[in-house]
């Protein structure tokens, strides 16, 4: 079928075409000359470049904005309370007649809670990752990877809800304590919540280990399992370290789920069954009704949390850079 629109001229022999060529070139060149000139296009090009530059710098702006806001609003209370009293004070009684603003309980709770989550979550996540990366059939691997993605996607309030209704009563019954809402409950919830980050990142790191390393080990008579743990895992150690650090970041930053299961009383974390308050939940539990110095102290807590996170970010970056090399 011939499409008329693309046949302005009959399909003729080359001679005719050649004769037409010169006149056509002239016509086309004329058309190019008539086409809008590029003076303003250069200007527009420069404008567009600037617009994209600004878009690119948005993230930098946001980080600066967040840092500046947190520092500006976090410093006054620390100054008023005194950095030592604030950071190392063992008592938080913000609404008492003579308010006390010591956040050591929150800091320690966050550290213990995160450490506990790591102690439980990392071995499970790590072993799962090795299995998925090295031993699982492709089908099992893909099903499990979707399961892990699902685990990552479940909202933290849902974890909190299930924790409230399953874990908290469970702890009360099993350990025979008056209230199950405790550091232990928070640790278990956090351990589950950091699992997906650890598994995903470790699998990626383990998958990237060159097959030649493993072949060399196998050829020396090592069993596959020995090879995976003694060759592949050390080769992927930076990536696995990064996965652990990522888990630390997730655990220390989690607020809602912890708020629902940890009991939320500003106690020192003396035992696993103590009802405790984390740095994150310290901010969120009083923010709604706070004012004055109390509110400023909450901002200071956020600043402390932010500093922890920046430290963890720097570590994460360090390990990721190492892995790239």
């Amino acid at each position: 079928m011939k499409k008329q629109e693309y046949h302005p001229f009959e399909d003729n022999a080359g001679e005719f075409q050649d004769k037409l060529f010169e006149t056509r070139i002239e016509a086309v060149n004329l058309a190019y000359k008539k086409a809008p000139k590029s003076e303003w296009a250069k200007y527009a090009e420069r404008m567009i470049h600037i617009i994209f530059l600004l878009l690119g710098l948005i993230t930098v702006g946001c980080v600066l904005l967040i840092t500046v806001y947190l520092v500006i609003s976090g410093i006054p209370a620390i100054r008023e309370i005194g950095p030592v009293d604030f950071l190392f004070g063992r008592e938080w009684a913000s609404t008492a007649a003579e308010p006390r603003y010591g956040i050591l309980p929150f800091i320690l709770t966050s550290i213990y809670g995160t450490a506990g989550a790591i102690v439980i979550g990392v071995p499970v996540g790590f072993m799962t990752a090795v299995y998925l990366s090295k031993l699982a059939s492709p089908k099992v691997k893909s099903v499990m990877q979707s399961a892990v993605s699902l685990l990552a996607g479940i909202p933290s309030v849902v974890y909190g809800l299930v924790g409230m209704l399953v874990l908290v009563p469970g702890i009360r019954k099993v350990f025979n304590v008056p209230d199950g809402a405790s550091l232990l409950a928070a640790i278990i919830v956090l351990a589950i919540m950091i699992l997906p980050s650890i598994i995903k990142m470790s699998v990626t790191a383990l998958d990237a280990v060159p097959k030649e390393y493993e072949d060399a080990s196998l050829a020396l008579g090592a069993t596959p399992i020995e090879t995976y743990f003694k060759v592949s895992v050390p080769a992927a150690k930076s990536g696995i370290a990064a996965a652990v650090v990522l888990g630390v970041g997730r655990a220390i930053g989690e607020a809602m789920a912890v708020m629902m299961v940890a009991g939320n009383v500003p106690n020192m974390p003396d035992s696993l069954f103590q009802s405790v308050r984390f740095l994150t939940t310290a901010v969120s539990s009083e923010m709604a009704y706070s004012s004055g110095l109390q509110q400023q102290a909450l901002f200071s807590i956020a600043l402390v949390l932010f500093l922890f996170i920046m430290l963890i970010n720097a570590m994460l970056n360090f390990f990721l850079k190492q892995e790239k090399e």
Binding site: E45, L53, G56, L150, I154, V157, I309, L316
Partner: protein
Amino acid sequence: MQNQFLSEKRKGYEVLMKALMLLSVGLTAGLVLFLLVYVLMKGIPNITWELLSTKPSYLTEKIGILPDILNTVYIVLAALLIVLPLGVGAAIYLTEYASNRKVVSIIEYAAETLSGIPSIIYGLVGMLLFSNSMGTCLLAGALTLVIMNLPTIMRTTQESLKTVPQSYREGAFGLGAGKWRVVRTVVLPGCVDGVITGAILSVGRILGESAALLFTAGFAHTVLTFPLGMKSPGATLTVALYFYAKEQGEFGVAFAIAAILMVLTVLINFAAALVQRYFAKRRSL
């Protein structure tokens, strides 16, 4: 069997490691299965048409989550509408325009930092930045979520921009096309998959977000309209779940919402995987 030649110690190691791995995988799989089944079983019986289609009333003491559903939709829409152009633009700057390595690494470091900041801090800064000036409202919540999701959109877009062959750009430049024309006609069509993947991931993240919204978008349960309602406070589904479970002890409603969120999470994961598979297939053609 090679096992015959292994010493007792090595055999023990082998068995132990295998057992630990299987245990861990079983634990992980069991957890996912338990959460899924438990939440759905507890939640689905509580999902009624009345719950979905009404707002809570203090007179009849009945709870409806229609406002929360609508608020969630509004916040997702508004946040995506703002974050997509910003994130895609930033990614284009990084891969197409930026020539200074240092600027690129600063921007990338900033994006990584943003994605590491916990949502409670976003909530606080969002409160200071937006809610203090425009009041506690859905828009303030959406803007906070925009900052949170910027790195996600940037990353997925950047990744797919990197898969656009350099030869396309060379071809277009070789014909005398300016940078913007090359980006618009040759590069952008090639990164649609990254943008869609990023959008889906962001929707998932926004659906699950609560800590960043508590102090920015508020708790209200009134039925609002889009886009004017963005200036009023409102709870999303997650915030409502928290509220009903923690403050009111309405666990039936909380589980109903949890079940809805669970189903949505499954759907979103499925959609993300589907999109990735679809585009991977198209690319390999």
